[in-house]
């Protein structure tokens, strides 16, 4: 059975961190699971946790007044869920629901954030990595604005 720091080290998000950094992060982590349909976070909640999904899939939903919720994105196995723990005001931006059984590693974002304040090297390393996560989501969102499945008009 793999240790948590070994699991974390396999994720591209944490690749390249020193063993010491990995061990610290693993010290702030634990295995969790969510059943299908279980709410993981709610928009506006304090974002003191983020997740590395090991299995399953979660959906990010937005409530639209007088309409059903709109499902704007999904996060799949191997990806990181949550970056709001790193950026003020540290609140979830979307409702998050497990669409199937999810196994994940949860991280105490508040703890890691505190460590980043006192350890700039770790702070820079994590900010660089999470910036890639954020940029990836931004690029995907921009592409969706293009409406790439748009139809011709014969």
């Amino acid at each position: 059975m793999k240790t948590l720091d070994a699991v974390i080290a396999e994720s591209p998000v944490f690749a390249g961190l020193t063993q010491e950094q990995l061990e610290f992060i693993a010290g702030c982590a634990q295995n969790v699971h969510f059943d299908e349909g279980q709410k993981i976070a709610k928009r506006g909640d304090a974002a003191d946790i983020f997740y590395l999904l090991r299995m399953g899939e979660v959906a990010l939903d937005v409530d639209v007044p007088n309409k059903n919720s709109v499902r704007i994105d999904t996060v799949e196995s191997g990806q990181v869920l949550g970056w709001s723990w790193l950026i003020p005001p540290y609140q979830w931006n979307y409702d998050v629901t497990a669409t199937e059984l999810v196994r994940a590693v949860s991280f105490d974002g508040a703890c890691i954030r505190g460590k980043c304040e006192s350890d700039p090297a770790l702070g820079y390393a994590l900010l660089t990595r999470f910036s890639q996560v954020i940029v990836g989501r931004l690029q995907a969102t921009r592409l969706r604005l293009i409406d790439i499945y748009g139809a011709d008009t014969h």
């Binding site: 959906a59 704007i72 969706r144 139809a151």
Partner: protein, 284 residues
């Protein structure tokens, strides 16, 4: 080698619509219908995978529509059409018994037989699935001759996904790695949300021995090809189908010219290395 009328440019046969009757019709989504056509007289034409026909709604106009049927078993022509313009709306409104004009088949075919022994990756966006269906049928019929088979399908919304029951049956019956995503879902949608490009990184195929077949709007194919190349799949292994405003279908009128190539004559199936730079030119 499939028959193509493109090689008979200027002949009466290539330019004269043949009357076909609508013998079956099915609504696939809120704006898309599938028509089955049989010739009023004579033997039906037999298109290959990737080829297209010019369908003529009499008194309205003519449009190029890819073949969507099983070229190895179907005796009828099968065309799936999205009603977006005057001609396609007229075709989709055709009732059973309506006669429409058919010219074809035109263009080249998917090199699906040449992909024998390799992994196959099909990437379809929106209305891009029907043109790939003949190639999919061929792989399914000869499933043991191919390696892994990934079918990646994206659409705007769940309501835009075509042939859902059939696609799921392929997954169940033919060892197909199916992955689907939509741009926007609701809470009833249990699948992925996001662009079809997000399905490529986790897809399982051997980049050294795979062939990809991609159909969708050009902007989609561009980003899909880039994502496939990010996986180190060579551009020569990525097949796409281009579409421009085609009129004659035989390389005479020039409407479908893109740089040095006429899509009706030289395509519509190309490998990505042949068209990547052309599609990067704004004016083309």
């Amino acid at each position: 080698m499939a028959q193509t009328l493109t090689e008979t440019a200027g002949s009466l046969e290539a330019m004269t619509p043949v009357p076909y009757a609508v013998t079956a019709k099915r609504q696939d989504t809120y704006d898309t219908w599938t028509l089955e056509l049989e010739p009023v007289d004579g033997a039906p034409i037999v298109p290959g995978p990737g080829q297209f026909n010019m369908l003529y709604a009499f008194g309205v106009g003519e449009v190029p529509i890819s073949n969507a049927g099983n070229f190895e078993t179907d005796e009828r022509l099968v065309h799936t059409i999205r009603a977006v313009g005057s001609v396609t709306k007229a075709l989709c409104a055709a009732e059973i018994g309506t006669v429409i004009g058919v010219r074809g088949p035109f263009g080249n075919t998917w090199p699906i037989v040449e992909a024998k022994g390799k992994d196959v990756v099909i990437v379809a966006g929106g209305i891009g699935l029907p043109p790939l269906r003949p190639a999919i049928y061929h792989v399914l019929k000869n499933r043991k001759d191919y390696g892994r088979f990934a079918l990646l399908y994206g659409a705007r919304t769940p309501a835009d996904l075509l042939f859902l029951d059939e696609v799921k049956s392929w997954q169940c019956n033919y060892d197909v790695d199916l992955d689907m995503t939509v741009d926007a879902g609701d809470t009833d949608w249990k699948g992925k949300v996001g662009l079809v490009t997000k399905l490529i990184p986790p897809a399982e195929f051997d980049v050294d021995d795979a062939r990809a077949f991609v159909v969708g709007p050009e902007i989609m194919m561009k980003f899909v090809a880039q994502e496939l190349m990010n996986r180190d799949l060579p551009a020569e292994s990525i097949n796409v189908s281009l579409e421009r405003t085609m009129r004659c279908g035989v390389g005479l009128c020039g409407h479908c010219q893109i740089g040095p190539t006429l899509i009706c004559r030289d395509g519509a199936c190309y490998t990505w290395d042949k068209v990547e730079k052309l599609l990067a030119v704004k004016e083309l």
